[in-house]
């Protein structure tokens, strides 16, 4: 309860700052429009205004302040503009409509989940290998780190083209990019988790003469669960970013990435912002969902909450 209040306070503070920031950010556009409409503005021409400071413009043209919150193509849309756009594109549109954010979110979501499944699977497999094989540990881990220094967005179009060339299209290319981003946190977390049993717990298994498989299933896997979930939460957010990145070069057909791109292409700042927030909300929901699953699972495993 206290946290909710705290979050609300912070959000309120941010929204306040946001509204304030809209004024200097959008003032030039507002004044240009006013000038075209024949209103007297200081300084009079757009050329002079280009080099004037935004705050100075606000001071000289205070009549324009309220208009900065309702610009059509704002540099910074006002919070309510984003909220209205979000509302209109989620609640007021049919889910099947191509203009519904929910439709696009669901397109991205399917690639995200598919990629997340791939990435998590790969990550867990690699982690199991790394924990059980010294060779893999020593050779794979450094390269896994290097792999993350490669800008995926540079590779994404190429991955897509390469997959095109072997006839793979649709969900899979996007999912592969999503998987590329999400496998790494899973490997790191899972390796840590599978190695988290202490010597004593492992020795206990040896005193029972347990096989490798028994040690894995009865000790390593259960004790890695908290680590697994911590990295799954990072992984699913990364996977979402990957899916969005993957949507850009595929012709930006549909999905939140397509919304972002189209918004950007047509200078629809409000649409960009609402797609951005849509993505972040989706990420938040996914993380929360994982948190819920984690709590349920860990409760069944007897972990204190």
């Amino acid at each position: 309860m206290k946290s909710v209040l705290a979050v609300l306070t912070v959000v309120a503070g941010i929204i306040g700052i946001w509204y304030l920031a809209c004024v200097p950010m959008n003032i030039k556009g507002v004044l240009d429009a006013a000038e075209r409409a024949g209103t007297e503005v200081v300084p009079a021409t757009a050329r002079e205004r280009r080099d004037a400071s935004a705050l100075g413009l606000v001071a000289n043209n205070s009549f324009a302040i309220s208009s900065t919150w309702s610009v059509d193509r704002p540099r910074l849309p006002a919070p309510h503009q984003v909220a209205v756009e979000l509302w209109q594109t989620t609640v007021e549109k049919k889910i099947t409509s191509k203009r519904s954010l929910i439709y696009h979110a669901q397109v991205t979501l399917s690639a995200t989940l598919f990629g997340f499944a791939l990435g998590t699977g790969l990550g867990i497999l690699l982690a199991v290998g790394i924990v059980h094989s010294r060779v893999m540990d020593m050779s794979v881990m450094p390269w896994a780190i290097v792999s993350q220094t490669i800008p995926i967005i540079a590779l994404a179009p190429m991955i897509i083209v390469v997959l095109y060339s072997i006839g793979v299209q649709g969900l899979l290319p996007k999912a592969i990019i999503a998987a590329y981003l999400s496998f790494f946190p899973v490997v790191v977390g899972m390796v840590k988790g599978l190695r988290s049993p202490d010597h004593m717990q492992l020795d206990l298994m040896r005193t029972y003469g347990a096989t490798g498989g028994q040690v894995f299933w009865k000790l390593r896997l259960p004790s890695s669960m908290p680590y697994l979930f911590a990295s799954l939460k990072i992984g699913i957010a990364a996977s979402l970013v990957g899916a969005i990145v993957g949507e850009l070069p595929t012709g930006a057909v549909a999905g939140l990435g397509a919304r972002l791109l189209a918004g950007s292409y047509y200078g629809q700042t409000v649409q960009i912002w609402s797609a951005l927030f849509g993505a972040a909300i989706l990420a938040g929901l996914l993380v929360a969902l994982l948190g819920l699953i984690e709590r349920l699972l860990l409760r069944r495993m007897g972990v204190r909450t």
């Binding site: 050329r47 696009h104 994404a156 083209v161 850009l248 012709g251 057909v253």
Partner: protein
Amino acid sequence: ADEVKLQLKWVTQAQFAGYYVALDKGFYSDEDLDVTILPGGPDIAPTQVIAGGGADVTVEWMPAALAAREKGLPLVNIAQPFKSSGMMLTCWKDTGIAEPSDLADRTLGVWFFGNEFPFMSWMGKLGISTEGKGAEGVEVLKQGFNVDPLLQRQADCISTMTYNEYWQVIDAGVTEDELVTFKYEDQGVATLEDGLYVIEENLSDPEFVNKMERFVRASMKGWKYAEENPDEAAEIVLDNDASGAQTETHQKRMMGEIAKLTSGSNGALDPADYQRTVDTLLTGGSDPVITKTPEGAWTHAITDAALN
């Protein structure tokens, strides 16, 4: 039905109306073709897609296609639905730019990703360096997806298409007489846009050639239909846009502009236009786009069979 995959140069919009109309009106199925249209995007190089075998035929601009040919990817123009170029440079009038020579010492937004070649040639012809600001040089920005650099006055001029970005500037509230435009067509540096290209080897396969004949025939039928029924064509494009971002007004207007560019072409490449494009590209200043006259970069074989 024979499968054909068509790679577009850009996202779904009226620029490609002919193909969508042909698909929607069943012109392709009449020719016993099963056509898949693959929309492009900011980071998709159509030449790369076709090189990888991801498409059978692609819509590409000739400078990029010829450059790819010199890089060892033998692309051949089999049809040219666009007669003239829609590229132009759009500038603020209040910056004092009135003619091309005023461009020196300015900041200009340019599209890269294989689309910079016409601009480079033009600057080469004007004797303006693109290495940085100065009496004899301009500062070049890699322009992103939109017209913001102009609206925000981060650039004095930006690249626009007559059918698209120009109208976005107008839609942002700018009036036409606040702007100065330089059409590449008027500057004598026009290069051919939006041709259909295939890989050379495939043309030795009669079955593929036959497929392309039917494809070009149906596509041109689509283009004619689109020119005659621009509003319906725009609707068809809108129906095919999965992103839901295009607006009706914009697409109808675009269709109108596109029709101006396609009129005068029956689909067959005019060798004179080709020669002009090659000449322009060869004189590309210090760093010409292509260094030697290309051989066999186009053929009338397909259009001759298709259009008669």
